[in-house]
């Protein structure tokens, strides 16, 4: 637990004055995704700890360098969880990194994404100013939604100092079921289930098995299991394995590509890992070989530097937004487009 906010602000202001660039790093667990190199390394681990946690408000406020493990442990002790369940690659990762990368875990279509949960942030912008946006309340429309803009912005708009995020109650019961089937069948089942009020909180198809997680009351799970005709008990460990890329599917040096797919798509292939009710697929081939299948978009994840930035009509405005927060391009110059 350490308050290093002012030191971080001073570092940014100093680098700006001296025209030196900054690479922002937390646990460096996602360094393979992005080249955050700069003249100076800004380490958010010096600014860590839970600032305020009130279970009855469903909100936790923590400093950027807070390890996800510490945060989720504190929530678990009070029967709560982070709804976006961010990946912990190499069993590491900080809250700041989770927000800056904007990656969400297996429950994303049902419990929401990182940005859905972010309620407020404190940042240092490229001018070396400490700014607060949003807050710790559920509904807040005062000013532009800068808090959510920070999610997935990969540190280019500022250093996240702390964030308030919405948490969710841990369900009273949970069950992981499995069904042996083809990818096409799994895709069809997911499409059908999306139209029904079912207590699904995760799906994953890999190696000819569809894994499904149901969460809620015991009675609700039993009844859903019957109507979905899922009879075989699975292994709940699969969810953390898929989330953290510890599953054998992710092993080895072959390129890894993430495919974002529209809801209700009919994408199916034997050699993929398909999660999020069919809306996210992982492929062990290069992004340019994945194609823009089914109106989705592919992102190179491992194996080569990612090309995250869409080169469409938004590019001009994205540059200007970046300049609005960081006029001199102090942050993460390795990511500049």
């Amino acid at each position: 637990m350490h308050d290093g906010a002012e030191a971080l602000r001073i570092l940014v202001a100093q680098c700006r004055r001296e025209a030196r660039s900054i690479g922002i790093v937390g646990h460096d667990s996602k360094g393979f995704l992005d080249d955050a190199a700069g003249d100076v390394r800004l380490d958010t681990a010096s600014h860590a700890g839970i600032v305020d946690y009130r279970p009855e408000e469903l909100v936790v406020t923590a400093r950027a360098g807070t390890p996800l493990a510490e945060l989720t442990q504190a929530l678990a002790e009070r029967g709560q969880l982070l709804p976006f369940d961010p990946p912990r690659y190499g069993h590491a990762g900080t809250l700041g990194g989770a927000i800056a990368s904007g990656l969400s875990g297996p429950a994303r279509p049902w419990r929401g994404s990182v940005r859905d949960a972010v309620l407020g942030v404190e940042i240092v912008n490229g001018l070396g100013e400490r700014l607060r946006f949003g807050g710790s309340v559920m509904k807040n429309v005062a000013g532009y939604d800068v808090s959510r803009l920070m999610v997935g912005a990969r540190g280019r708009l500022g250093v996240i100092l702390s964030a308030s995020v919405r948490v969710a109650p841990r369900p009273p019961a949970e069950a992981t079921l499995r069904l042996s089937c083809t990818a096409a069948r799994a895709s069809e089942l997911c499409r059908r289930w999306a139209r029904l009020p079912l207590p699904i909180t995760a799906t994953c198809w890999v190696d000819d098995v569809l894994h499904v997680r149901l969460s809620g009351s015991k009675a609700g799970i039993v009844s859903a299991q019957a109507s979905m005709q899922l009879h075989e008990t699975g292994d709940a460990a699969v969810w953390a394995q898929v989330r953290d890329h510890d599953h054998p599917f992710f092993a080895g040096d072959a390129p890894l590509t993430r495919l974002s797919l529209p809801r209700g798509n009919r994408f199916a292939a034997a050699d993929v890992l398909l999660e999020w009710g069919g809306c996210q697929a992982w492929l062990r081939r290069a992004a340019h070989e994945a194609g823009a299948a089914q109106d989705g978009f592919a992102t190179a994840f491992r194996g080569r530097r990612a090309q995250h930035e869409p080169l469409d009509g938004t590019a001009k405005y994205a540059r200007r937004v970046q300049q609005a927060f960081d006029p001199e391009g102090v942050f993460n110059p390795g990511l500049a487009t």
Binding site: D116, G264, Y317
Partner: protein, 483 residues
Amino acid sequence: MSNDAVLEQLRRCLPASSLITGEHAVRPFETDGLTAIRERPWAVALPDDVEQVRAVLRICRQNDVPVVTRGAGTGLSGGARPLRNGLLLAMTKMNRIKEVDLDACTATVEPGVTNLSISQAVRQHNLYYAPDPSSQIACSIGGNVAENSGGVHCLKYGLTVHNVLGLRIETFEGDELVLGSKCLEQAGLDWLAVMIGSEGMLGVVTEVTVKLLPLPEAKRVLLASFRAVQDAGDAVGAIIAAGIVPAGLEMMDSPAIRAAEDFAAAGYPRDAAAILLCELDGTEEEVEADARRMQAVLAAHRADVRVASDEAERERLWKGRKSAFPAMGRIAPDYYCMDGTIPRRALAEVLGAIAAFASEYQLRVANVFHAGDGNLHPLILYDANQPGELHRAEELGRRILGLCVQVGGTVTGEHGVGVEKLDPMCEQFTAAELAQFHRLKAALDPAGLMNPGKAIPTLAHCAELGGMHVHGGRLPHPELERL
């Protein structure tokens, strides 16, 4: 170019019925839901399609004419208040539902489509659009996007920002931005978050793709009545702490209960100090389990609990809540609806303070609000015909919003800043934060002609105000030069 010449250009790209000019003709557009503030626009354009929107924006850009975009005009903060020298771009004619995708569970609609008509259109497929502002019968989805509208179910289902997957935006510079898609994730920056809630300051929404949810299998409504407001406030926190996320959790205080009961005969207990209206939804089993837990929590907070026995009773209980606003019209000539959010734990404290402020200003306040997410809607009752009452009501409102900020909340939970809350924005944000907002605006609208003067106060405005409101001898924005 002269005004007449600009009008002539507009006439050439719009059907005759889609361009309204003249003092008398533009009058229906002089205000939105914040009726105390009025201004007649120079002209009103009602485009039929995106081509016409583009043409209108091009002409305004070439002639430096400011543009105020308007949906159904139900906004409560004056966000769509026209400008005397500006064009009012009213989107109501663009009201087609373009596509319902049953596989993706999405609807793609034009901005003028009303909120409720989306749910009505997909009801037959057992789907609905979750955000349901009280004005849903009239308000447009484009307006919902501009304000990031909520409703009574947002604790569980989120705000507009959680339920919109894609947008098409026309920028003032003439670019069309296609933001989001039917995919869950966006590539690049979170443009949807930037646009949703931006009050028409960054671009014009021409298309919205919303997420549709399966209608819940079961719903149950519980009415809990309390003899002390403190108990009701505590019960709200206890329900959430118990791990229940109700679909709706609404609170009404004694003046609101009585007015609503007189108006709607909902069956509310007239002698209660406060009531909580709790709605649970989900599968039969979930609802059953949650209802049992909820009843135990409420009983522990000394509540009398009634469970609606059938659909008719459920609707009657909601009708009382939904008619709370018109009900106020019967007990006072005018009311001023506030909109602040506070942490739930401060509910009882803030309600007590509001009552104390009210007696100080010799005005009545009724509270009816979204307790589950701490979003207060104090209704300040006044009579505009009594000299000084409107002024006292506004002063009281400012005190209430100041208190919301003090306890860690915000000056607007869901109604937006518009022109109404420019002053309290100066209390909530520092000069550097406001300057950052202005730079973000300039990134999308360098000319500064999209809805100018709304949502974010200028630093000069705050400095001027700082001279009037001094808290504890500390000037807000001491870094600014005084006028």
